[in-house]
């Protein structure tokens, strides 16, 4: 498979590891931002192969995991409304809200459907003119163009029974929240390649300079990840802190102008609550005034209730910020498992806790 096999080939990966071993002279903590990267690291056992002292911290980059319970509750309330179909990406439906998940709500009769694309939800609305179709728009900057396209298409084609529950989150504000925290243990950052493919490197240049932290744009295959880690360690060992692109086959410095224009046309920045972390200013997206007809929160105004940040044995917030590793949480693998998740990172396959549970439980 082109663009996959050559980036998984053992000789290339092992030679990169050898170079890394020669390069790293002291312990470093590197955070990979994206859950897709976490998944690949654990699936291919890259963390087992790294030189001693080099630690990967799994960042907050699972958009499904950081979606606040209040928005999941709102999605459930909409799905329970007669005549409403709540369309969602698959991994969102098992994430617990305050009391239940969309999957559990579906088993009790709520209208929940899994789709692979936001455009499929628009099509569903067209085919069911008597129903209200709401798309649960979750994801980082890389998913926002697709949901923006769905809203813009629905507006142009006057698909009035379609609306968007926008729950997008943005990486740079979260990155600043992590790097600016007092107990921050992160020395270097692997930025999410797909997010940068859309938004480019711009925001990261400022952040790298401000916090003195190297940021390397990194892909998702084993060799991509090692190239990212190599570049990051090279900077750390050399006392540098700049933005570097280790994913050039996909990312241009300015990103994808067309996608950016579409997102800016439909959305504007807004404060957002990150599950387990709290409110981060200007870290989300909401529909602009011109598209407010398609805003599900306005169409179903009683669906959204105030977020209740749960306290309890689950330490998801500290996991998402890289302060602790999942097995250090007292609930991990005990009260909290993929079948009975207490915190969101245990639900999605990309969540740090679930990935640990699936691939590394024998170590814990």
């Amino acid at each position: 498979m082109k663009f996959i096999d050559e980036y998984r080939a053992a000789p290339a990966v092992l030679s990169a590891l050898e170079r890394l071993r020669r390069l790293a002279t002291r312990p470093w903590n590197i955070m990979e931002i994206c859950g897709g990267q976490t998944h690949a690291i654990l699936r291919f056992g890259i963390d087992q192969l790294l030189p001693e002292g080099l630690r990967l911290i799994h960042g907050p980059g699972c958009p499904v995991c950081v979606t606040p319970a209040s928005l999941i509750d709102a999605a459930i309330a909409m799905a329970r409304t007669p005549g409403v179909i709540l369309a969602s990406f698959g991994d969102m439906i098992r994430v617990p809200g305050t009391r239940e998940s969309l999957a559990e709500a579906r088993s009790a009769g709520a209208g929940v459907r899994i789709v692979e694309s936001p455009l499929a939800a628009v099509e569903m609305a067209r085919r069911h003119p008597d129903a209200q179709v709401v798309f649960f728009g979750v994801g980082f900057e890389n998913t926002a163009p697709a949901t923006a396209l769905a809203v813009s298409l629905a507006a142009r084609q006057r698909v009035q029974n379609f609306s968007m529950l926008a729950a997008h989150v943005l990486v740079p504000p979260a990155l600043e929240a992590i790097l600016g925290a007092e107990n921050c243990q992160v020395d270097g950052i692997l930025a999410a390649g797909h997010v940068c493919a859309v938004e480019g490197e711009r925001d990261y240049t400022r952040i790298a300079a401000r916090y003195g932290t190297p940021i390397v744009v990194t892909g998702f295959e084993p060799l991509d990840l090692l190239c990212g880690i190599l570049a990051c360690v090279r900077q750390l060992e050399g006392g540098q802190a700049k933005v570097e692109n280790a994913y050039r086959r996909a990312v241009r410095p300015a990103g994808n102008a067309k996608a950016q224009a579409l997102v800016r046309e439909v959305y504007e920045p807004a404060d957002a609550i990150w599950r387990g972390i709290g409110l981060i200013p200007a870290s989300g997206l909401r529909l602009r005034e011109a598209y407010s007809d398609f805003d599900a929160l306005l169409r179903f105004p009683s669906a959204l209730r105030e977020d209740s940040m749960q306290a309890g044995p689950c330490l998801a917030g500290q996991v998402l910020q890289g302060i602790i590793e999942p097995p250090a949480c007292p609930a991990f693998g005990q009260a909290c498992t993929p079948d009975h998740p207490l915190g969101a990172p245990m639900v999605s396959a990309e969540g740090a806790c679930s990935a640990f549970y699936q691939y590394k439980r024998h170590v814990a």
Binding site: I4, A10, F44, G45, R94, E100, E104, P338
Partner: protein
């Protein structure tokens, strides 16, 4: 002690207390359902897909399976041929030669009769090819909206041919793990067809009868210890179930497991692990180490992608591990329910 206080009293399976789609996914939720409700209620074990009954002088294997696939017709097969192959294959996994089937249909009001006729013709053709007869059946119709077009349940009986029972308790340290061909085609074919996903090449289901291969393995004297068809939950789930029941640790080498390029690409796109994607014409075989090469040669007569993929390490907690392309080892666990397409 009053009946309310028996330990087999069904516990709530999860917070919701309701059946979820995941309970049918073949993973942990399915296992919970069986272990906590069905097995205690029926007082029978649940670690094989077919039961063996002594009858007169001989031994009969018996099994049943329900088919709820959507769409009813998909590339490489349809619900009718699937309903025949699935039950024939479950009998084969017990080491039995399939003899006869019964079929029960639940039809939804409004379903075109032409669809019923096509499915019936497909079943008849599949049964003819498998050398079994469909001897009896039943039909029920539910109101429109109370079924999904057409559900089929097939029940089969077969004559036991294997010289010794094929079950997890016979698995020994050092046994070889084999798979009878490339994996993950059926799940991807059905998913692509249901969701309207189009790939450069058409991915067809692997739906096929596998009893002839099993009969040949037995006929040529291969010492089989356990067989499992890699249906719902895929190859990984089949091996995890056997390892768990046998309390033996298994290890597979991922590089030995064949996945066609287009199937692998579709899995990458959807975020699926092919090891957990359904097959309908592939099985895992656990054979004594000395017979591994002969078993492989027999399986490759049908499909050159058949392979020896791993070994039984020894007694343990019943864990399946996979050695990846970089040499690192990961644990493969039962999934909670079905695999869900990932967001990015």
């Amino acid at each position: 002690m009053s009946p309310e206080f028996t330990l087999s009293c069904p516990l709530p399976l999860d917070a919701s207390g309701r059946v979820q789609i995941g309970h049918g996914g073949g993973g942990r939720l399915t296992r919970d359902l069986i272990e906590r409700i069905f097995a205690p209620a029926f007082g029978s074990r649940a670690d094989t897909d077919a039961a063996v009954l002594a009858l007169g002088g001989g031994q009969l294997a018996m099994t049943t399976d329900s088919f709820v696939v959507q769409p009813l017709f998909f590339p490489g097969g349809d619900i009718g041929s699937l309903a025949v192959h699935g039950t024939v294959n479950d009998l084969a996994m017990a080491g039995a030669r399939p003899l006869a089937l019964a079929a029960a249909f639940i039809l939804e009001e409004g379903l075109p009769l032409e669809t019923v006729a096509r499915v019936a013709a497909s079943m008849a053709e599949a049964a003819r090819r498998c050398g079994v007869r469909i001897l009896t059946g039943d039909t029920k119709v539910v109101e429109r909206g109370r079924g999904d077009g057409l559900f089929i349940t097939t029940t089969g009986v077969g004559a036991l041919v294997a010289p010794a029972p094929l079950e997890p308790s016979r698995v020994e340290a050092g046994d070889a793990l084999l798979v009878s061909g490339d994996i993950a085609r059926h799940g991807i074919a059905v998913m692509a067809s249901r969701e309207g996903l189009e790939f450069e090449s058409r991915i067809e289901s692997d739906s096929a009868p596998i009893h002839e291969e099993v009969m040949t393995l037995i006929g040529e004297g291969v010492e089989l210890h356990c067989l499992r068809d890699c249906t719902r939950g895929g190859l990984a789930t089949a091996l995890i179930e056997i390892a768990g029941a046998a309390q033996m640790d298994f290890q597979v080498d991922e590089q030995q497991i064949a996945v066609r390029g287009d199937v692998r690409a579709a899995c990458e796109l959807l975020g699926f692990d092919p090891l957990y994607v359904a097959n309908e014409g592939r099985f895992a075989a656990i054979v004594s180490a000395g017979c591994a090469e002969r078993a492989l040669e027999i399986l490759r007569r049908n499909r050159p992608e058949a392979a020896i993929i791993g070994t039984v390490l020894g007694r343990g907690s019943g864990r399946l591990t996979a050695k990846g392309p970089l040499g690192a080892v990961r644990v493969l666990d039962l999934l909670s329910g079905e695999q869900l397409p990932r967001i990015c």
